[in-house]
Structures are given as structure tokens and as C-alpha cells.
């Protein structure tokens, strides 16, 4: 695949101005070694929604933009507060202030993707093993078993408690003062989350992702866009699939993002889970939730839909999964190719660490591969997104009509038995709509697949409506 060859050029060895280690969650010291990347990274504070330059006003509410979302999420925290996402610099503070956190008790697992939490996991994991945990020991190595243990330990704890743990982990910058438990600051995603501090190689650190990828590798989902998985399977599927040892560099350029930009379960009834046992397609994920039971034996669900009483699933930002179904993934194009394109800076090329919408950087993000004028490329994306948005609105209309029909059927006394198949249709319809609506590329990451999923959503919503009306006429007939 010649288009990627040049990306595989060797890096010139870098000169370390300061030492960074496995506890260096603060990006500032890294910035002394890599000023360009750090400078870019700091740009993620900019936000096209609010003022440029780090204004911290919250981004627009999706609930107000799309009022049907309130009905979709009725009875769930998302119906209280749900906003446009923005740059990485905001991830921790946006989570701290969302009314989903301030008004609802959330789990500590939320921080898995919103903070530079790995040294904290390691510390807690090591502490469980009983040893004394000094800053030196923490800094020594990544120690995956300890990280996993810590992750398991805090996943179902309260959000506030886990948040407090962050500042108890030494970060090599904050100096401990006697009697002050504050040993490090809490940071949003930081260099250490994607880079090995010794070699600067990219790596993945998130337990949820590592476990998820292992499940995926052990499934029989054909994943032509992930050749290392196929290779691992072909060579006998020994032990566990580990992205950090098995994946190609090009795969890693997507995996670092797949650590967080995925569908998950994250609440108090189960450890944080990425539902990839059957594969990465929308149906595969649904099947895993369908087949999951909580420890108390109850069937898995995310929330009880308030208007109708149906137990339903919530889809969250499945960028990695949708991208996997698209032509870019199939052609070996990684998240980083578009969201962190190479830029010439003086005599060298660096990856833009201003992770953002490629549409703000079409020249570098797209024109390396597509030799069409910027305006043309923008129009292509607009067209794909417009088609998707139109279908989302169509599916949303069907969905709200469905809610009305179910509510009416319940009002006219439909039995639970009669409602059972209708609730199944409702769950499917809502899952599909949410899957594409909560994905953040408005269909771009896999244009036909997005339309297909929305078509199914419409189908199930409208089937549910017809079934309600049928009940209705059946019941009136027998009245």
C-alpha cells in the first residue's frame, strides 16, 4: 500500500531536555522535549462553538438543537444535559460540570476516558498487592497487571471518590508538602496516555480497550482493516491479543483513539465494558448487550425508558466501530491520518497534535490523498452529512411517533404480553437511531453503513407503531 509507505519513515532520535516517566501525567515537561507537539496539543482548548482562545463557556446543548433527544433519553441522565463535544483540553472539566455528573451519581469508570488516570490505576493496583508504593516504584514501568487490577478495583466506585484518587497519585511535578495529600494534578488525556515515555512510541494504555480488543480477536468477526488481528488468529490465537505487541504502527494510529471513541457500558452494575465479543458491527454490539446479564441475573439494560417503561440500550460515540465499517478503514486510513495529519514544520514533519475536525484542516487532512480542490472535498463531506442528517430526522420522527403509539396502547390497556414484541422493536429502533446520532461524524466515517442503520431504525419504529394500532383494533374488536 504505497500511500502509507512514507509514513513509516524512521524517526530521528530525539534529545531529551527533561526526563519524563510513567508518572508524568502533566504534559508540560514533555513539552520541553517536544515543543511543537505540545504547542499543538494546547490548541485543543480552542473551540469553534464557544469563543476561540479557551473561553470555557459550555458548548451548545444537543437537547435544545434536537428536542426529540429528550424523548429518546426520557428517564436517563442524558435527558438532563447533553452537549456538543469539543477539544481534548476540555474533557475533564466538561465532565466535572455536566449535570449528568452533578445531579446524578456516576461511576468512577467515567474517568477512564476523561482523565490521565493510568498511574492512579497502577497505584491502586499495587496497593492492593500490599506493597509500599513510592513515586519511584510508580514511575518504573507500565506494569499492566497492576493497571488492570486498579482499573477493576475502582470501576464501580463513585465518581467523586475516584476523582479524589487522581490527586493522590504523584505526577513528578507537584511537590508533596507535609500533611497535604495532594501529590499530583488531575489532567485530561495527556502525552503519557498515548506514548511510551522512554521511546515515544505510540501505545495504548486503556484497560477497557485492551480487554475489548482481546474479545474481538477471539471472535470470528472478519476484520480486514485490522491485519494484525487476522495474523494473530492465523498463527494459532495463542494467549491474549495485545495491541501493544501485535498491532502494526498504522493500526496503532487508530487504536490510540479507539481507547475512548467507542461504545461502552459504564455504570455501577458492571465493570466498564466494550461490547466487542461478537465483532464491531452495530448488530454485533447489540447482540452482546442482548446476551449480557448483570450479576444479579437480570438481563442487561442501560435505562428504563420513562414514557414507555421499556428497558433500552444507550449507544455512545461509536466512532471506532463505525469507522471500522467504512471505506477508509478498509483502505488502511487511520484516525490519525485525518485528525492528526502530518504538517511540515521547518525541516521536519510532525503529527498535528491539535486533534480536531479535519474539515478545519482539509488541506493537510485530505489533500495528501485526494487531489481535489478544498471546496470540492468540503462539498463531498457536506453531501454525505446532509443525507445522514436527513435520515436521522426521518428516524427521529418515526421514533417519536412510536413513543406516542406505545403510550396510547398502554393507556388503552395493552397487556405486558401484548407489549413484549413491541418493546423489542422499540429497543432495536432506539439503539439504531442513537448509534448514528451519537456517533460524531454524521455518517462520514461509513456513509452507506450509517444510512443502512438508520433505515433499520425507521423500519422498527414504524413496525412498532403498526403493531400498536393492530393491538388497538384487535382490542376494540373484542371489546
Amino acid at each position: 500500500m504505497s500511500i502509507f509507505e512514507r509514513k513509516q519513515e524512521a524517526r530521528t532520535p530525539f534529545v531529551k531536555v527533561v526526563e519524563v516517566s510513567e508518572i508524568s501525567t502533566d504534559p508540560e515537561p514533555w513539552g520541553l522535549n517536544f515543543p511543537q507537539q505540545y504547542e499543538d496539543y494546547l490548541q485543543t482548548v480552542n473551540d469553534s462553538y464557544t469563543d476561540f482562545g479557551g473561553n470555557h463557556a459550555l458548548p451548545p446543548s444537543k437537547l435544545e438543537e434536537h428536542p426529540w433527544l429528550k424523548r429518546l433519553f426520557a428517564g436517563y441522565a442524558f435527558s438532563i444535559d447533553y452537549r456538543e463535544a469539543r477539544g481534548h483540553a476540555h474533557m475533564l472539566s466538561d465532565q466535572e460540570v455536566t449535570r449528568r455528573v452533578t445531579e446524578v451519581q456516576q461511576a468512577g469508570a467515567c474517568l477512564h476516558c476523561h482523565a490521565s488516570i493510568i498511574p492512579t490505576y497502577r497505584r491502586i493496583g499495587l496497593q492492593q498487592q500490599g506493597g509500599e508504593v513510592t513515586a519511584e516504584r510508580l514511575a518504573e514501568s507500565f506494569d499492566q497487571p497492576a493497571v488492570m487490577a486498579g482499573f477493576e478495583a475502582v470501576s464501580q466506585k463513585n465518581y467523586e471518590d475516584v476523582h479524589a484518587e487522581l490527586t493522590k497519585t504523584p505526577d513528578g511535578v507537584v511537590q508533596a508538602e507535609s500533611g497535604d495529600p495532594h501529590l499530583g494534578d488531575a489532567h485530561p488525556v495527556s502525552c503519557i496516555d498515548c506514548h511510551d515515555p522512554e521511546t515515544m512510541a505510540i501505545r495504548v494504555t486503556r484497560p477497557g480497550f485492551i480487554l475489548g480488543m482481546d474479545k474481538l480477536a477471539k471472535s470470528d468477526d472478519p476484520v480486514p482493516h485490522l491485519p494484525s488481528v487476522q495474523k494473530w488468529r492465523d498463527s494459532g490465537a495463542q494467549g491474549d491479543y495485545d495491541p501493544n505487541t501485535h498491532a502494526t504502527r498504522q493500526e496503532m494510529r487508530s487504536f490510540v483513539c479507539g481507547q475512548c471513541h467507542v461504545e461502552y457500558y459504564c455504570a455501577s452494575k458492571m465493570t466498564l465494558t466494550y461490547p466487542w465479543s461478537n465483532g464491531l458491527k452495530m448488530e454485533d454490539l447489540e447482540q452482546e448487550w442482548d446476551e449480557t446479564t448483570f450479576s444479579d441475573g437480570e438481563a442487561f439494560y442501560d435505562y428504563v425508558h420513562k414514557e414507555t417503561g421499556t428497558k433500552v440500550f444507550k449507544a455512545q460515540h461509536p466512532e471506532f466501530e463505525l469507522w471500522s465499517q467504512g471505506i477508509h478503514a478498509r483502505s488502511g486510513v487511520s484516525c490519525s491520518d485525518c485528525h492528526m495529519p502530518y504538517e511540515k514544520r521547518g525541516a521536519t514533519k510532525v503529527s498535528s497534535h491539535w486533534v480536531r475536525s479535519p474539515m478545519e484542516n482539509i488541506n493537510k487532512a485530505c489533500q495528501t490523498c485526494h487531489h481535489f480542490p478544498e471546496q470540492d472535498l468540503k462539498q463531498r463531506v457536506d453531501l454525505i452529512q446532509q443525507r445522514t442528517s436527513d435520515l436521522i430526522e426521518r428516524a427521529a420522527t418515526a421514533m417519536t411517533d412510536m413513543l406516542d403509539a406505545i403510550v396510547a396502547a398502554q393507556a388503552s390497556g395493552a397487556s405486558e404480553q401484548q407489549l413484549k414484541p413491541i418493546r423489542d422493536l422499540q429497543r432495536k429502533a432506539m439503539w439504531r437511531l442513537d448509534f448514528i446520532a451519537s456517533e460524531n461524524s454524521k455518517g462520514f466515517h461509513a456513509s452507506q453503513e450509517s444510512a443502512r442503520i438508520l433505515a433499520e431504525s425507521v423500519d422498527y419504529s414504524r413496525q412498532a407503531i403498526a403493531a400498536c394500532y393492530k393491538l388497538d383494533s384487535a382490542s376494540t374488536e373484542t371489546e
Binding site: N363, Q375, D376
Partner: protein, 188 residues
């Protein structure tokens, strides 16, 4: 020679970036639009470019780099004196044409006058751009230079591509790179 109308037709070759170079303002390179765009060249501008270009070709703008004069050579290495073209060089080395064509075989007209005018002209603008910065990254070929490469392909492959040639002189034809995108160098 092409009439203006016909050359425009040619420029409209579907899917080629140049088709809309007239509409899309190239805001990344201030100061260049004045001179650029083959169709807008008057005789005066050509002479102007020729003079300045020859000067530039002798290294006026890039003298500080000490390599300006190497532009006149035929060695691909001279092109990569400007690191901005390293990726082209790297992928040219792996291209089907590495054995048969150097940069100048494709990027200069194959007739004497055209060759030197183009050298001078590009020498000027490359140097200017390299010195002042602000050019498009990835670099984008200009319509006129694209016609040069098209001409180079035809010149070498005349017999083979006979059916692609227009029925009448100056007529419309497809750009070779419409299909052969990675000939020369895949990476841009």
C-alpha cells in the same frame, strides 16, 4: 496550438483540481495570483517572468542556500535541495518511472524554448515561494505545469496513447493522471 476556448475545455477535465482553480481562491499564497495562471499570461508577463526567472534561476532569491544554481541541472537531487519535495523524491524512487524518467523529464517541456522558459519561470516561483513560505502544503501543481507533465507523458507514449489523442488538433483529451495517479510518484 490550442485556441483559448479549447484550452479551457481541456482545463475542465473532470475531477482535476485545476478545473476550478479559477473559482477557488488560493488564500495560502498571497502575492502569487498576480502572476500565475497560464491563461492569464500576456506577452508582457511572459517576458517579465522570463527575466526575473532567469535571475532567480541564477540564485538571486535562494542564494543564501547556496544551491539555487543547481536548479539548472538535471539531477533529481537538486530538486530535493528543497526538503519540501522530499516526499516526491522518496516515492519517485519507488515509482515505475524511476528507471526511465527524472523529474525534469516530466516537469519540463520537451522542446527547447519551452524548456528554458519553464525552468526560468519555475525557478523564480519556487525560489520565491521557498523564501517567503506560504505555499500550499501539500504542494499543488498549477494548471500550466500540469499541462507540461501531460505533454511529457504524451511525448514518450505517443504511439501507445494514440486513441486518446483528440480527433482534431487542439481538441479535448483526458489527463493521463486521471487514471495513472501514481505514475512518477504516489506521494505528494
Amino acid at each position: 496550438m490550442m485556441s483559448d476556448e479549447e484550452s479551457q475545455r481541456n482545463d475542465r477535465e473532470l475531477g482535476d483540481a485545476e478545473g476550478s482553480d479559477k473559482e477557488v481562491p488560493d488564500d495560502s499564497s498571497p502575492g502569487r495570483g498576480k502572476f500565475w495562471g497560464g491563461r492569464r499570461f500576456g506577452r508582457g508577463a511572459i517576458v517579465f517572468a522570463l527575466c526575473l526567472g532567469l535571475l532567480a534561476g541564477l540564485g538571486v532569491f535562494t542564494f543564501g542556500y547556496g544551491k539555487g544554481a543547481s536548479y539548472m541541472s538535471n539531477n533529481p537531487e537538486t530538486c530535493v535541495n528543497c526538503h519540501v519535495m522530499q516526499s516526491h523524491m522518496d516515492s519517485w524512487l519507488q515509482s515505475s518511472h524511476h528507471q526511465v524518467a527524472v523529474c525534469n523529464d516530466c516537469h519540463l517541456p520537451h522542446d527547447f524554448i519551452g524548456k528554458w522558459v519553464t525552468k526560468a519561470d519555475n525557478g523564480f516561483f519556487h525560489s520565491l515561494a521557498f523564501t517567503l513560505g506560504g505555499f500550499k502544503d501539500p504542494i499543488q501543481i498549477k494548471p500550466r505545469n500540469r499541462r507540461v507533465t501531460q505533454g511529457a507523458c504524451i511525448d514518450c507514449h505517443q504511439d501507445l496513447v494514440h486513441p486518446l489523442l483528440p480527433e482534431t488538433a487542439g481538441g479535448d483529451m483526458l489527463m493521463c493522471v486521471h487514471c495513472h495517479t501514481s505514475v512518477g510518484h504516489a506521494a505528494r
